[in-house]
Subunit: 168 residues, 2 copies
């Protein structure tokens, strides 16, 4: 909960800037990630921008339409699609970047550089600790009621398919 509140407290200061340039946080993360490389696969980009495939897929479609990035399928493996930022996208980054950095600097100034560094260290350590921790699968949970509602989660009708993925 504190993590959620902390993130919101930070983003509250960046959102107006991004919004004024027609960007969402996610779109900004994508363009930033792209600006650091020449070209990148979609899966790798999803990792870098911390987005799930479906979200990324939709946003790429939009940003491609807006000509902020370009895609071309890799020649050696036609499943892969290589994404790269366009000059127009780069220009946008260069326009917004300084303002973003100014906000970041102001946050660091208010919060204190030392604390900010400590916080980052602790967050990285948290990530490391928990990535090594196995996820418990809640065996034996009963869930006697999850289907009595009208729009609750987990209500998709099970399609009764085998768990394997072959047979497309």
């Amino acid at each position: 909960m504190l993590l959620l509140r902390g993130r919101e407290a930070v983003m509250r200061h960046f959102r107006p800037l991004l919004r004024a340039h027609g960007l969402s946080e996610q779109q900004w993360r994508i363009l930033r990630a792209l600006s650091a490389v020449d070209a990148i696969e979609v899966t790798e980009l999803a990792h870098d921008a911390f987005l799930l495939g479906p979200s990324l897929s939709r946003i790429l479609r939009d940003l491609e339409t807006r000509k902020l990035l370009a895609r071309k399928t890799a020649r050696e493996d036609q499943r892969r699609s290589m994404v790269s930022i366009t000059p127009k996208g780069l220009k946008l980054i260069e326009t917004v970047g300084p303002f973003s950095e100014a906000i970041y600097a102001e946050i660091a100034r208010r919060y204190g550089g030392t604390q900010l560094g400590e916080l980052q260290d602790l967050l990285r350590a948290l990530d490391d600790s928990l990535s090594a921790m196995p996820v418990r699968h809640a065996a034996g949970a009963v869930d006697s009621d999850a289907d009595s509602g009208s729009t609750s989660r987990g209500k998709r009708r099970p399609v009764k398919r085998r768990a394997v993925q072959g047979g497309r």
Copy 2:
């Protein structure tokens, strides 16, 4: 970004448990908040569970249908709606709670109680620092292109209505 990753690292361990009992994170936060009070107004609940009104409104509708909570409009002010948890909701909390606490304890054990405490302190301090910081409104941004896309944000057509709300 680190805040986002940190939160995801934590929630990854809770989600399977909640899911097995037919609950989303948000629904869990709502029930937890309700279990701590007798009855509460929607706006106050939104604050406690850190949700925006519209999200809360939808989820309340669902949880009410599932009989995990109940609503009744306040007699002194019919705009206000008082929300309270039902016995069924309480029972669910009591069922899931111990497992949730076990997961939390395991996280604390792996990460270290001292670090966890420090992290919490730093997050609270961050929240405090930034809540006192004014939000800059990005005056002068040009946004020459935000409307060239097909599904980008901020593209709702302005309805050209007066800003006042009277006249019903």
